[in-house]
């Protein structure tokens, strides 16, 4: 809402400097988004009076104009045809900053010689002053403008651009802002009385109004004016509309807009003779398939839940949103029916958003303005139209008011105010604050309790808490002390999942992984690209009904695609090893319920083979780097995983494993499938891992039991076995672990090649034997080792490598 301060000052004395006023408004809830100063740059521009107009000696279309400035009378060359003796004009001296009338650029005025005559100065158009686009003639000032005065004193203004919160439609009006300013500065607002003479035939003999949908229209008021003359509005009116951000159209439309800005009540003028039969207005819901062309020339398909203003034949306006073209006020209009009505906020919001048609009118109605306003604004608009367009008003006004409600008083107690704010205000302070805002405070039998009635323009006051806020914001939030919560601490039941996420993230950071966060919204293509093969997703992703773009249409069911895209993007400028992880949710649809939102930890390791670095760090990653990360991470999380065959189509067959905990597959680790790597345009090997932390959580909350530290020395033996190539490390270890004295089995070499027969490989282990009851002798260790070798030989065909 743009509020020119000169206009505001008609209703309230503004004594504070502009910045301080803006500060007070902001503290009380209405932020000043911007302040525009009209005439702030009008140095060297003065009010002048035209004292001579002579022809230019060398040009037919130019004239020499002499201007009285009080102390001097400069003569300038001027091309505008509209200047007359005695006109007051804006005169720019050399050095003034102007807008060039042709290019629209800022210029500094310099002396010029035009067709042989020196011109040192200029008389200005509105465009050259930067107050409108009008450049057809010189701007003529009102005759009372004082000669020689700086133009800024006469035409300058400061305009506040206010950010009005949705609860305060009363502030979408200059009078409303004036009342707020008055309350904040201790001034009295002065709202002028409106009166005019209505001499025409009584209105009720000429037109009637029927409200067929009283739930949607609580009040409909109207006046009728004959014999008007459509014309351009006077300068003061146009410049106020322009300053408030509205385009002047003609005197009738301009008055309806002006009064809307003044009172906050939208109005609409119908060309009375264009209404069919011009006898009756019906406020009703739109009929099925009803169509109407709105003022902006667009044909609107109306739905049955939209409210329209209709004559006996058709809809002539979309109630509270926009008028219809068929009854639009035009150059030929001579009689108007002026509507000032109150419509249900939800209905207007629904209509305006369904039609995607937001107007100054709909914006006010949907915030809920009070029906008491209709008559006040109607009288004001009628008065101004009679003044500016002539004509005669019909006697009386139409006023159908099915929604009349007396607002209930709200009780306010000083104790409850203190209980909410944490500070005691005296009854006098409370009454003074509320009274300054126009509230009525009635005393009750208790000195600490009042019955408070909100003023008619406030639609946002329903509860005691609303009144308490009013008191607090007028007294000032800075008057409320700061205290710490002082009652006993609530019981805490920390969510174990949060601790798990934090620990997992920090572990990966410790392993050198960089965390990324990517959008949960993705495209179907991205999801499918990361999981090729069958070509369709295992679970259908949730779809956004109104996506911004196709690549933000679905909720992700996997983090993999985003992580690979992040890798690809970084590969454009990074050739070193990359370790990334994301810890975020996937969204898996459930029937008729909110989706399953599991927390997934997903990471990748990538090396290009191009790395060059100081020893270490240039070894390309392998499957076992990724597996090692998973093992290390899960060990930190007190979980012992096993690894089994996985069937992940996005990973390379034979180079992937499911991460299994207590028989449940909770994740996967493996090398990215070359097809997927190609689809994401990443080169080199990429190793991925994914762990479902939500599913893992129950296994991380185990009960630990202390194991006594072994006191007796261990015996260490290294053995190298020759086994079939197809035999797995795990089969060997499972056999060795079956012996009670074996404390530890550690693989330290895997070899296949010339030193072992074809079809065989060598596995070397360091075995640690230890007893919890005595020091092992060599003989005991030898005995176990022999037993182990015998069992490995008989069960797995393993032999000792010679």
């Amino acid at each position: 809402m743009k509020v020119p301060l000169k206009w505001l000052k008609e209703y309230v004395a503004v004594t504070l400097p502009v910045t301080e006023l803006a500060e007070r408004l902001a503290m009380a809830g209405t932020e000043v988004k911007g302040t525009e100063v009209i005439g702030g740059k009008w140095e060297n521009i003065l009010v002048g009076e035209v004292i001579t107009v002579e022809p230019h000696p060398n040009a037919d279309r130019l004239r020499l104009v002499t201007v009285e400035l009080g102390t001097e009378q400069p003569t300038v060359v001027c091309g505008a045809p509209n200047l007359r003796l005695g006109d007051k004009v804006a005169f720019a001296r050399v050095g003034a900053e102007l807008i060039d009338g042709h290019s629209g650029q800022k210029i500094i005025l310099k002396p010029a010689k035009i067709r042989g005559v020196v011109s040192s100065g200029m008389v200005l158009s509105e465009k050259e002053l930067g107050i409108s686009d009008i450049h057809e003639g010189i701007m003529v000032l009102p005759p009372e403008a004082p000669v020689g005065a700086p133009l800024a004193e006469c035409l300058g203004d400061t305009i506040f651009d206010l950010d009005i919160t949705p609860n305060r439609p009363d502030l979408l009006s200059v009078i409303g802002v004036a009342r707020e300013v008055a309350a904040l500065t201790g001034e009295e607002p002065s709202i002028p009385e409106v009166s005019y003479e209505a001499k025409g035939a009584p209105i009720e003999e000429q037109v009637s109004v029927e409200i067929a949908a009283p739930q949607l229209c609580s009040r409909y008021s109207a006046s009728l004016i004959y014999g008007i003359k459509i014309a351009e509005s006077p300068r003061w009116l146009k410049s106020r509309l322009l300053a408030s951000g509205m385009r002047p159209i003609n005197n009738i439309v301009d008055v309806t807009n002006y009064v809307m800005l003044e009172y906050g009540q939208p109005l609409h003028a119908f060309d009375f003779f264009k209404l069919w039969g011009n006898k009756k207005i019906i406020v009703r819901r739109a009929g099925g398939g009803e169509v109407m062309v709105s003022l902006d020339g667009v044909e609107r398909a109306l739905q049955g839940d939209m409210l329209v203003i209709a004559d006996e034949k058709q809809a002539v306006a979309i109630a509270g949103v926009m008028g219809g073209a068929s009854s639009e006020v035009s150059q030929e209009t001579t009689s108007i029916l002026l509507e000032s009505a109150n419509f249900a906020p939800a209905s207007i919001h629904h209509t305006s958003s369904s039609l995607r048609l937001i107007s100054e009118s709909s914006m006010r109605f949907e915030r809920g303005i009070r029906p008491e306003l209709t008559l006040l604004a109607l009288k004001r608009a009628t008065q101004l139209i009679l003044l500016l367009a002539g004509g005669e008003a019909a006697k009386g006004l139409i006023d159908v008011y099915p929604g009349r409600k007396e607002p209930e008083p709200i009780s306010l107690s000083t104790e409850r105010l203190e209980r909410l704010l944490g500070v005691e205000f005296s009854p006098q302070q409370i009454v003074a604050a509320l009274t300054s805002l126009g509230f009525n405070c009635e005393p009750t039998s208790s000195a600490s309790e009042f019955r408070v009635r909100a003023p008619y323009w406030r639609s946002d006051i329903h509860l005691e808490a609303d009144l308490i806020e009013e008191v607090a914001r007028i007294v000032g939030y800075d008057k409320i002390p700061t205290t710490m919560l002082s009652r006993s601490l609530p019981r805490q039941d920390p969510e174990p999942g949060l601790g798990l996420k934090k620990k997992a993230g920090q572990s990966l950071v410790g392993y050198g992984f960089q965390e990324v966060i990517t959008y949960s919204l993705t495209g179907r293509e991205m999801l499918e690209k990361a999981l090729p093969g069958s070509g369709s997703l295992k679970a259908l992703p949730l779809r956004v009904a109104n996506p911004m773009t196709a690549d933000q249409e679905y909720l992700r069911t996997s983090l993999r695609g985003n992580l690979l895209a992040a890798l690809a993007a970084n590969r454009r400028h990074e050739d070193g090893p990359i370790r990334l992880f994301e810890l975020g949710r996937v969204y898996l649809a459930r029937h008729n319920d909110l989706p399953d939102e599991s927390e997934i930890l997903s990471g990748l390791l990538s090396s290009t083979g191009l790395e060059k670095s100081w020893p270490g760090g240039d070894e390309p990653f392998s499957f076992f780097d990724a597996k090692g990360v998973v093992e290390g991470l899960l060990t930190r999380l007190d979980v012992t995983p096993s690894f089994e065959e996985a069937g992940d189509e996005g990973l390379r067959p034979g180079a992937q494993a499911a991460v299994v905990v207590a028989g449940n597959k909770l994740g996967v680790v493996g090398e990215l499938h070359p097809k997927v790597a190609e689809a994401f345009e990443v080169s080199g090997a990429v190793y991925l891992f994914e762990i479902n932390l939500t599913a893992l959580l129950p296994y991380t909350i185990g009960h630990k039991v202390f194991q006594p530290i072994q006191r007796f020395p261990a015996v260490v033996r290294d053995i190298a076995l020759v086994v079939d190539v197809g035999l797995s490390h795990r089969q060997v270890v499972d056999v060795i672990r079956g012996f009670p004295l074996v404390q530890k089995v550690a693989l330290f070499d895997v070899y296949s090649g010339k030193q072992v027969p074809v079809g065989k490989k060598s596995l070397a282990y360091r075995l640690t034997f230890q007893s919890s009851t005595h020091t092992l002798t060599d003989e005991e260790a030898n005995k176990v080792q022999q037993q182990i070798l015998a069992k490995l030989s008989s069960e797995l065909g393993a032999s000792l490598r010679s």
């Binding site: 209980r419 205290t483 609530p490 960089q514 649809a589 989706p595």
Partner: protein
């Protein structure tokens, strides 16, 4: 020459030779020669019994003194040789210490995660519990229960992404939460006062992406409900948060603002760090940077979850996360957070 004279001569010779020794092997030979089983000194000590009684005492004492002296000189020499060896080896094996260490990969948490952790820690220390809620929500939790019924103009300030799903008869609308506030309702439905929670998480808006707008960002919500909680407590708690997060020198301002689910409503701003309140481009000439919205929990919101507003009061607040590192580090484009660009992420 009597035995004592021999011992004196032996001492001179032994110590003279010892002084010239500079490696461990020579030192061992010296030990064998003068202190070994076959040495002269050992022989003297062993044959003491053959001496006449008059000499036995003085020779025995002299020989033992010499043994102690030689042994102590031997130990000194050993230590000296060890130290000399260490010194020479350190000198020989000296490193170019300006060479880089073997690389150890460095990982970091995302700046948004870091900020959330830091905020969580501050509120946890004030007795708030960290909880999380679903990102896909019902209209009821995101709007209705927070006093934002259908067609309420406040809905227009939080453009919503709706979820397409097969509705059953109850026609519930599913959406991506536009703020973390739904968790206020979910938590109060489950837990009776007294309660204090903070709720970090992702939120979503139907918004075209540019340098200051993205469709997904993070918020943190706070809620405290108990008997006797006042707006002074709200101010005190948030002031304390600001003091610990932004530092004690940053001024804090509380002004009136509107959110449908609180009354009175509050906006907290901190003094602009760039201009120190003078007004600049960053703060839009106001000198203040808005940090969060807050207020006293609306009585209707309490009533809806079955908490009696005549008995209990509470406060709530909500703040955007990304804004904070943006202000702190001077980041001018919010999209960078979700670009996954290592050149950006490695800076924090």
């Amino acid at each position: 020459m009597d035995v004592l004279e021999q011992l004196a001569e032996l001492k001179v010779r032994a110590l003279g030779e010892l002084a010239d020794i500079d490696d461990a092997r020579e030192l061992e030979s010296w030990r064998v020669c003068y202190l070994g089983k076959k040495s002269r000194l050992t022989a003297v000590l062993r044959n003491l019994g053959e001496l006449p009684l008059s000499e036995k005492k003085s020779v025995g004492a002299g020989a033992n003194r010499l043994r102690v002296e030689l042994e102590s000189n031997l130990e000194q020499k050993k230590r000296a040789l060890r130290e000399a060896k260490l010194a020479s080896s350190v000198q020989k094996e000296g490193l170019d210490i300006s060479l880089p260490g073997y690389p150890f990969p460095v990982g970091r948490l995302h700046p948004v995660t870091q900020t959330i952790h830091k905020i969580n820690d501050i509120f946890t220390s004030m007795g708030f519990q960290v909880v999380e809620g679903p990102e896909v929500e019902w209209d009821y939790y995101n709007f209705e229960a927070l006093n934002i019924p259908e067609e309420h103009p406040a809905r227009d300030t939080m453009a919503t992404l709706w979820i397409d799903y097969e509705k059953d008869s109850n026609q519930r609308q599913m959406l991506l939460r536009t703020h973390t506030s739904p968790m206020q309702i979910r938590f109060m439905e489950k837990v009776r006062p007294p309660l204090r929670i903070v709720v970090p998480g992702k939120v979503y808006r139907y918004e075209a992406t540019d340098a200051t707008h993205i469709p997904m960002f993070h918020q943190i919500e706070g809620l405290a409900v108990d008997e006797g909680i006042t707006m002074a407590d709200l101010k005190g708690t948030l002031y304390e948060f600001s003091r610990r997060f932004f530092g004690k020198d940053r001024k804090v301002r509380f002004r009136c603002d509107y959110f449908p689910f609180v009354e009175p409503g509050v906006e907290m701003a901190i003094e602009c760090a760039v201009c120190k309140g003078e007004g600049c481009r960053l703060c839009g000439s106001s000198g203040w940077i808005e940090i969060l919205g807050a207020g006293m929990v609306h009585p209707e919101v309490l009533r809806r979850v079955g908490i009696d507003p005549e008995v209990y009061t509470g406060f709530a607040f909500g703040m955007g996360i990304e804004r904070i590192p943006m202000l702190r580090y001077g980041i001018d484009d919010i999209r960078l957070f979700y670009s996954s660009d290592l050149r950006f992420l490695r800076q924090f």
